[in-house]
C-alpha cells in the first residue's frame, strides 16, 4: 500500500483514536461495571469499557452534564450556558445502560450500588467519578444559604448563572471579590482565569470597577503568566492579596457581602467565595475517602487503597501528583478502563504514563498552558521533572492567540470523546 493510499484511507475513515479496534471479549472475561458520575471522567470510562465489551451501567443524577471548563467564558460574557451543556448522547451511542438517578449507598462486600429510586445494581467492579462537593463546615458564615448570595460557581450550572447575573447587575465602580481556597481543589488555575475573564467583561462595560483576589495561598498556578497578562490587558484592575498581605478570609457575612480578614473587613459589590472541597459524597459512603477528604488510589489501576474492587477517577481521587482537571479526569478514565479490562481478563495492568494539560484564557484571544507528564513510582503517580511546565513568558500576542485557539480545539476534542457530541 502506498503512503498516499494509506493517508487517504485514514482520512476517508475519519478515524478517532481510542475508539478504535477493540479485541473481541471472551464471554468468561466479561465484567459487570457500574460507573457513578457522568462527567469528564465517568462518561469517558463508561464508554470505553462498553466498547471493550463489558456490561456497563452509567449512573448520573442529571439528564445533562454542565461543563466547568468554559464556564469562566460565560462569566466573561462571551459564551453561553448552552455551549457548556452536554446530554449523555455518547453513552447512548455506545449502548450502555444509563440510569438517571442518584447513587445513595454502596455495599462493597455484596458488590452493589443502591439508587435513590430503590434500584440495586450489582457490580464486579465499581468506578466512582463523583467530582467534588463544597465544604460548608470550614469557613464561618459560608453555608449553602450563603452560597445563594455569595455564589461559588465552582460547579457549573445555576451557580454560574447566578454569579453572571450579579456581575451584570453591579454598578460601575464596584469591587468584585474572588476568594479561592487552599490546595488541593478543583481546577487550580480556575480562580485566576475567572479574575481575568471578569476583568475582560468589566473593562468593556464598567471600567471603574476592581477585582480583589483574597487568597488562602501565597502563590497560585500559572502565576507569572496571569500576572503578565493582567499588566498587559487590565492594568490596575486586578489585585492579588495573599495571606501575608491580609488576604486570608476567616469569616463571611453573606447578607452584607462582607468578607472578614485578619486585617479588616472588605465589603464587596459581588463576592465569589470558592470554599474548600472534598470528594463527592458517594465516595465517603463507599468508604474510599481518607482523612484528607480525598480518595487514595493506585496510580496504575485507580483502584482504591482502602476498598478493593472500587476505582476512583477524576477530581475525587488522589493517585499521586496529578492536579484536579477535566483533562486529568479524561486521561485517568482511559487508563482505569484499560486496567479494569486487564483485571477482568486476569492479565497484569501495565504501568501507565499520563499527561495533563490545562489551558487558561486571560482574554478570548489570549491563552496559555501548564502541562505535566506522569509515571508511576512505587504505585503512585509522580511528575517527570524535566518535562511539562508553563508556556513561556514574554511570548508575542500571536502565540497567546494560537494557544487560545488550541484551547477551543481541546475543548471540542475532549467533550466529543467524553460526551459524544
Amino acid at each position: 500500500m502506498t503512503l498516499d493510499r494509506r493517508r487517504m484511507l485514514a482520512l476517508a475513515c475519519g478515524a478517532t483514536l481510542a475508539a478504535a479496534l477493540s479485541r473481541p471479549l471472551a464471554a468468561q472475561d466479561r465484567g459487570r461495571v457500574v460507573v457513578v458520575g457522568g462527567g469528564f471522567g465517568g462518561a469517558t470510562a463508561a464508554r470505553m469499557l462498553a466498547r471493550f465489551g463489558h456490561d456497563v451501567t452509567l449512573v448520573e443524577r442529571n439528564a445533562a452534564y454542565v461543563s466547568c471548563p468554559g464556564s469562566n467564558a460565560v462569566l466573561g460574557g462571551f459564551d453561553s450556558m448552552a455551549t457548556l451543556t452536554f446530554p449523555l448522547a455518547g453513552a447512548v451511542q455506545d449502548n450502555l445502560r444509563i440510569v438517571q438517578d442518584a447513587a445513595v449507598d454502596v455495599d462493597p462486600v455484596a458488590g452493589t450500588v443502591t439508587l435513590a429510586g430503590g434500584e440495586v445494581l450489582p457490580w464486579d467492579r465499581l468506578v466512582l467519578s463523583p467530582g467534588v462537593d463544597m465544604r460548608y463546615d470550614v469557613l464561618p458564615g459560608y453555608d449553602e444559604a450563603a452560597a445563594e448570595l455569595m455564589p461559588h460557581a465552582w460547579k457549573a450550572g445555576p451557580q454560574t448563572t447566578l454569579l453572571r447575573a450579579q456581575l451584570e447587575a453591579m454598578e460601575d465602580g464596584g469591587i468584585v471579590v474572588i476568594a479561592p481556597p487552599e490546595n488541593p481543589f478543583r481546577c487550580p488555575p480556575g480562580p485566576y482565569e475567572r479574575a481575568s475573564l471578569i476583568a475582560h467583561y468589566l473593562s468593556q462595560t464598567k471600567p471603574a470597577s476592581r477585582i480583589l483576589i483574597l487568597d488562602a495561598k501565597e502563590t497560585f498556578s500559572k502565576q507569572p503568566l496571569f500576572t503578565e497578562a493582567w499588566d498587559r490587558l487590565y492594568p490596575g484592575m486586578i489585585e492579588f492579596r495573599p495571606p501575608s498581605f491580609g488576604g486570608r478570609v476567616v469569616a463571611v457575612d453573606a447578607a452584607t457581602r462582607t468578607l472578614v480578614t485578619d486585617f479588616g473587613d472588605v465589603i464587596a459589590a459581588v463576592a465569589n467565595v470558592i470554599p474548600p472541597q472534598r470528594a463527592g459524597a458517594i465516595a465517603a459512603i463507599a468508604g474510599v475517602v481518607d482523612e484528607t477528604g480525598w480518595c487514595p488510589v493506585s496510580g496504575v489501576t485507580f483502584e482504591s487503597d482502602l476498598v478493593p474492587g472500587i476505582h476512583v477517577i477524576g477530581d475525587a481521587c488522589a493517585p499521586g501528583a496529578m492536579p484536579k482537571s477535566a483533562f486529568a479526569a479524561n486521561a485517568q478514565a482511559k487508563v482505569a478502563a484499560q486496567a479494569i479490562d486487564a483485571l477482568f481478563r486476569a492479565a497484569t495492568p501495565p504501568d501507565p504514563k499520563l499527561v495533563n494539560t490545562c489551558y487558561s484564557l486571560a482574554a478570548p484571544d489570549h491563552g496559555f498552558t501548564v502541562a505535566g507528564v506522569y509515571q508511576t513510582v512505587d504505585g503512585k503517580l509522580a511528575e517527570i521533572t524535566d518535562a511539562g511546565g508553563l508556556s513561556p513568558l514574554d511570548a508575542p500576542a500571536e502565540v497567546r492567540a494560537l494557544e487560545a485557539g488550541y484551547a477551543r480545539s481541546w475543548y471540542a476534542a475532549i467533550t466529543h470523546e467524553a460526551f459524544g457530541v
Binding site: M1, L3, R6, R7, L9, A10, L11, C13, G14, A15, T16, L17, A18, A19, A20, L21, S22, R23, M48, R51, F52, F327, N330, A331, K334, V335, Q338, D341, A342, P350, D351, P352, K353, L354, V355, T357, T369, A371, V373, Q375, I384, D386, A387, G388, G389, S391, V399, L402, E403, G405, Y406, R408, S409, W410, A412, A413, I414, T415, H416, E417
Partner: protein, 91 residues
C-alpha cells in the same frame, strides 16, 4: 503491499487493540481526537516519530508539544506512534 498488510495484521493480533494501548497512548485523543483542529488521522507512525523527535530536540517549535515530548523515551514514542497509526488503519 502483502508484507505491509501482514505487518498490520500482526500488530492487530499482538498489541494494537484499544485494550493493549502502550503507556501514554490513550492520552493523545484528549486533544487530538475527533473534533480537534489538530487531528492525527492522516499521520503514519513514521510521521509521528519524526515529529515527536523534532519537538524533543528543539528543531520543531510548537506551543505545547516540546514540553510533552520531553517526558517520553524513543521506545515509548515508537510504541505510541505504531498504536495510533494501527487504530486509524483499522477503522
Amino acid at each position: 503491499m502483502r508484507q505491509v498488510l501482514l505487518i498490520v495484521l500482526g500488530l492487530s493480533a499482538s498489541g494494537s487493540a484499544a485494550q493493549d494501548a502502550p503507556p501514554g497512548a490513550t492520552t493523545c485523543s484528549g486533544c487530538h481526537g475527533a473534533g480537534s483542529s489538530l487531528p492525527l488521522d492522516a499521520l503514519t507512525a513514521e510521521d509521528i516519530v519524526t515529529a515527536m523527535a523534532a519537538f524533543r530536540d528543539g528543531t520543531r517549535a510548537a506551543t505545547l508539544m516540546p514540553r510533552l515530548a520531553a517526558g517520553f523515551s524513543d521506545a515509548e514514542i515508537a510504541a505510541i506512534a505504531a498504536w495510533i497509526a494501527a487504530q486509524e488503519d483499522g477503522q
